[in-house]
């Protein structure tokens, strides 16, 4: 992690996560407004998913800042590890909800089966490659769905969402590979933030149009 020390040392990763938290919360709020207006279950899925992502990003970002400010180094690494674990489970649940939302359209039992099949291999605490692989799998499915959506609709909104989830998938690929090159930790956070920024652009576009 030496080559990423400057990045972690100044808390850039935490700042990026807190920015992403705000955006994820904005998406969740938009979904909440949609549910309030239409009572469509789709909006509930989106709302829960993005609230979970927002909560996870907030917890992970704050735990990192806490450890940085406490300046006690290794002693409080457990706090940071716990923060990431919470974030991991939040992402896992959020992306599972989205996968279920897409699978619900086909009215199959695949959604529940998928959720149950992942449970036995969940990591216990902190970052593990296994966890990243699971997230990549879920995100890849979601990204594929958004790609199909864009190929059908050809709207700028669907294009932005497709790129957003592509960046999120890429970020987890970088998180997986950072064991071999610590610089990928920086790229992972940049990709993750880029994904959320693309979602923000989509939100702004949707709210400007009517």
């Amino acid at each position: 992690m030496d080559s990423a020390r400057w990045f972690i040392g100044f808390g850039f990763d935490a700042i990026m996560e807190l920015i992403s938290f705000v955006i994820a919360f904005a998406v969740a709020y938009q979904a909440f407004k949609g549910y309030r207006l239409t009572r469509e279950r789709t909006f509930l899925y989106l709302q829960f998913s993005f609230v979970l992502l927002a909560a996870g990003l907030l917890v992970d970002g704050l735990s990192t800042i806490f450890v940085l400010l406490a300046r006690t180094g290794a002693r409080l690494l457990g706090v940071s590890s716990l923060g990431y674990t919470i974030f991991f489970f939040a992402q896992l649940t959020a992306y599972l909800i989205l996968v279920c939302a897409y699978l619900q359209k086909t009215r199959t039992l695949a959604a529940e089966s998928l959720a149950l099949s992942i449970l036995p291999v969940l990591p216990v605490l902190g970052y593990t490659p296994t966890g990243e692989l699971i997230l990549i799998f879920l995100l890849f499915f979601i990204t594929a769905q958004t790609l199909i959506n864009y190929s059908v609709r050809r709207t700028s909104g669907s294009l932005l969402v497709m790129f957003a989830f592509t960046m999120l998938t890429l970020s987890h690929a970088f998180f997986l590979l950072m064991l071999f090159d610590a610089r990928l930790f920086v790229l992972a956070h940049v990709a993750q933030l880029s994904g959320f920024v693309l979602l923000l652009v989509m939100l702004l576009q949707v709210n400007r149009s009517a």
Binding site: A31, K33, E40, F43
Partner: protein
């Protein structure tokens, strides 16, 4: 129904709405009464002819609905 009224320049006769929204006459009557009750459309009688137009509340609702529709569509969901 509201989109049909808007497409007709915010002034649509019942028959236009009937065909535009693909409704039966009974359903049309029922839904028009409901929309009037909600305050999103107004009924105008002009020279013996009946028209319907969107109220400001109706226009705002339609705009908001379109936003939500676009939002859901961006993710690949239909409202």
């Amino acid at each position: 129904m509201m989109r049909v009224i808007q497409r007709e320049g915010n002034r649509a006769k019942p028959t236009r709405i009937l065909y535009g929204a693909n409704l039966s006459h009974d359903r049309l009557t029922k839904y028009l009464d409901e929309l009037k009750r909600l305050g999103v459309i107004d009924e105008i009688i002009n020279g013996g002819e009946r028209y319907y137009k969107l109220t400001q509340k109706g226009i705002e609702f339609l705009n908001e609905f379109r936003r939500m529709d676009n939002f859901a569509a961006a993710f690949g969901f239909a409202v």
